[in-house]
């Protein structure tokens, strides 16, 4: 009977041709490090990170815009902790706060409701970053704003969809043998949403949860699918991921947002990969002009290889700047600037074992 110990034994002793599996989601990158997963599988199975770090792929200009707004009298910007210390082309939100910008950290967008009602003369701007997992929180906020007729809250959006990015990735990084799909994004999208992608890329995919067991099972499933030459989407997180996903949020997403082209730091412009508030909801949108983001992998080449990391073409240690000229305190690119980026996570958790132990 199959158990985790046998799965680990098979993965550790894997003798097939080298495999490259992409774990799309930043939370998976972090979990894989935290749980010591790489130490449980053969070095012939390489796990590379993907573009699923919303902070890493948000253009620097977005942060500049947020800081500029926070410096305007009468405006306060609210941000998740993830974004707080990431510098744009200029200072981070945290540094801006130190110089007098009105910035506050939040855990949930809902926290803005009480603030907005208590201080109706101020405008509160939520730095609305994220993938599909965070849409429920923003839709919930928009519903409350409408119902309570709150007029002094705006969303400064940098909302993205993962499937268009994966489709783009598949054509630009064709040597990925399998995808570990983001478990909580999949809660929203549903298993069926990935079927045409798997067929288009002719690559197996496994929707995974975030425990040691979930991640190992997903890796095992992908190895088996490759060996059996299958290109299916397997749902290995059925406790929360259904075939059709969270249809309530899908309806609200349709109601409040429209798709459009958006720039991904390191990847460039990807069609229909962004979500923007529909025209009838502009009263909740923070209008701000910033330069059309067009940073691509090529733009990073001279100073760093973040573009290559986001595409899964290399792991952070393969970047010549990693650890030498590029560290969390002297970052060269977004993957190290954000401590949740692949390079930041690798730096903190993964050292080559030193001799003597």
């Amino acid at each position: 009977m199959l158990n985790i110990e046998r799965i680990i034994a098979e993965l550790k002793n894997y003798q097939g041709s080298p495999l490259k599996l992409m774990e799309v989601c930043g939370t998976h990158t972090s979990a894989i490090m935290q749980l010591g997963i790489r130490s449980l599988i053969s070095p012939k199975i390489t796990l590379v990170s993907g573009p699923g770090c919303p902070v890493c792929v948000t253009p620097a200009a977005f942060i500049d815009a947020a800081v500029a707004i926070a410096c305007e009298p009468g405006y306060t910007v609210l941000s998740f902790g993830d974004m707080f210390k990431v510098p744009g082309n200029g200072p981070s939100l945290s540094e801006g706060k130190g110089e007098g910008a009105s910035v506050e950290m939040i855990y949930s967008p809902r926290e803005v409701l009480v603030k907005a009602e208590q201080e109706s003369d101020k405008v509160f701007v939520v730095a609305a970053v994220g993938f599909e997992t965070t849409l429920p929180a923003y839709c919930d906020l928009l519903q409350e704003l409408e119902q309570r007729e709150i007029r002094n809250v705006r969303l400064l959006t940098s909302l993205r969809q993962i499937i268009p990015a994966l489709s783009w990735l598949g054509t630009h990084s064709p040597d990925i043998d399998g995808y570990i799909l983001p478990g909580h994004v999949s809660v929203i999208l549903g298993e069926d949403a990935y079927k045409s992608l798997a067929q288009e890329l002719k690559t197996p995919m496994a929707i995974a949860g975030f425990s040691t067991e979930h991640i190992l099972l997903a890796i095992y499933d992908l190895v088996k699918q490759v060996q059996n030459k299958k290109n299916q989407v397997h749902n290995l997180y059925p406790s929360v991921v259904s075939r059709t996903g969270n249809t309530l949020i899908q309806e609200q997403m349709e109601q409040y947002f429209q798709k459009g082209q958006i720039g991904w730091r390191g990847l460039g412009l990807i069609e229909d990969s962004g979500l923007f508030l529909r025209d009838e909801y502009t009263q909740f949108s923070m209008p701000y002009d910033w330069p059309e983001p067009n940073e691509t992998a090529e733009d990073f080449k001279d100073s760093c290889l973040c573009g290559e990391v986001l595409l899964g073409r290399i792991s952070p240690p393969e970047c010549p700047s990693f650890r030498k000229h590029c560290t969390p305190s002297m970052p060269k690119g977004p993957c190290m600037i954000s401590l949740e980026g692949a390079c930041g996570i690798w730096y903190r958790f993964h050292r080559e074992k030193k001799e003597g132990q």
Binding site: I4, I8, G26, Q34, G36, L40, T134, T212, E340, Y347
Partner: protein
């Protein structure tokens, strides 16, 4: 007056009344009462150990503690971490204009009580008032004497030693953040005096190599500092790391890692194998050490002094020092 004003810092009659009615009231002793510019103290025949710390916590009062208590325990605990028996304390207060008198008095009263509880006197003090929004900051400096025979320090860990932590991690940090983010729970700061536990170990003649309190940066940072200073590798086991379920839940909500969270009443104790069982049992006899565990071992290292952690099913990961601030995250 209900609130601190700039007049309280002028040095004149208003200042003197503040000192008399708040500071002397709660901190009185033969040294402080003299109101001299400096305290004349009895010397010691032992080497002296000295430390200083500043306390800037907000909110000032939190479940399980307050800034006054922290200001005493934090500094005397640091003395004990070198094996130093605390002798004297100083306390300097920076008051922001607008600070409520009631709040100030409660903090000073708590500081005075904590000092009496641990048997130490505040022999010198200072008060300044600055412009601001009603904040309070306290600096305490502690003087102690090294009257025990053990040689204790971060560089003293030896291969074969056991790594003990005195109890569950992250409570203080979680308690403070809970107040700030409005998450309701019963998590209390672990703000505590560690002297009784440490004194017991030293007086029993145990060969204590390292004592470090686990404050900012968490256990991970402290163990890395020890590994580097002692030029060793330290290996811990994830399943043995003690964390209260409520704190774990709090960490899961905010994406935090207990290994990097601050504590105010926990210490790491590194002792040779032969003294491990006794050390553990002595610490566990105390209320603040009831949750103590042996969670790892010290190993030889030829280069690159690291902390590694055994994970589930025989996996392994490196634990590095804290980078950044360990902020809550959704990604």
């Amino acid at each position: 007056m209900n609130r601190i004003t700039m007049a309280h810092g002028s040095g004149g009659a208003v200042t003197q009344e503040l000192i008399r009615t708040v500071f002397q009231k709660h901190l009185a002793n033969k040294y402080l009462n003299k109101m001299d510019d400096a305290a004349v103290l009895t010397g010691s025949s032992y080497p002296l150990v000295m430390t200083t710390d500043s306390f800037v916590v907000t909110p000032l009062f939190f479940p399980g503690g307050d800034i006054g208590k922290l200001a005493v325990f934090g500094t005397v605990n640091d003395l004990w971490m070198m094996g130093g028996q605390p002798l004297y304390l100083t306390a300097a207060f920076i008051l922001e204009e607008g600070l409520s008198m009631k709040t100030l008095e409660e903090a000073v009263s708590s500081l005075g009580q904590a000092a009496r509880d641990v048997g130490i006197q505040v022999v010198a003090g200072d008060t300044k008032v600055v412009e601001g929004k009603g904040g309070l900051y306290i600096n305490t400096t502690g003087l102690g004497q090294l009257c025990y025979s053990q040689v204790i320090g971060s560089a003293q860990a030896k291969p074969g030693d056991s790594v003990i932590v005195s109890g569950p991690l992250g409570n203080h940090h979680a308690s403070i953040l809970s107040s700030r983010l409005g998450i309701k729970n019963y998590i209390q700061s672990d703000c505590a005096y560690l002297g009784d536990m440490v004194k017991g170990l030293l007086e029993a003649g145990l060969e204590v190599h390292v004592l470090r309190d686990v404050t900012r940066g968490g256990l991970a940072t402290v163990l890395n500092e020890i590994a580097k200073s002692s030029r060793v590798n330290i290996q811990v086991s994830e399943e043995l790391i003690p964390v209260d379920p409520e704190v774990l839940g709090f960490c899961e909500i905010l994406g935090l890692d207990p290994l990097y969270m601050a504590n105010e009443g926990k210490f790491v104790c590194i002792v040779p194998e032969k003294d491990t069982a006794k050390a553990l049992s002595m610490i566990k006899q105390h209320a603040h050490g009831a949750g103590a565990v042996v969670l790892g071992k010290v190993f030889n290292s030829l280069q690159g002094h690291q902390v590694t952690c055994q994970t589930k099913y025989g996996g392994e990961k490196i634990i590095d020092i804290l980078y950044g601030e360990g902020l809550p995250r959704i990604c």
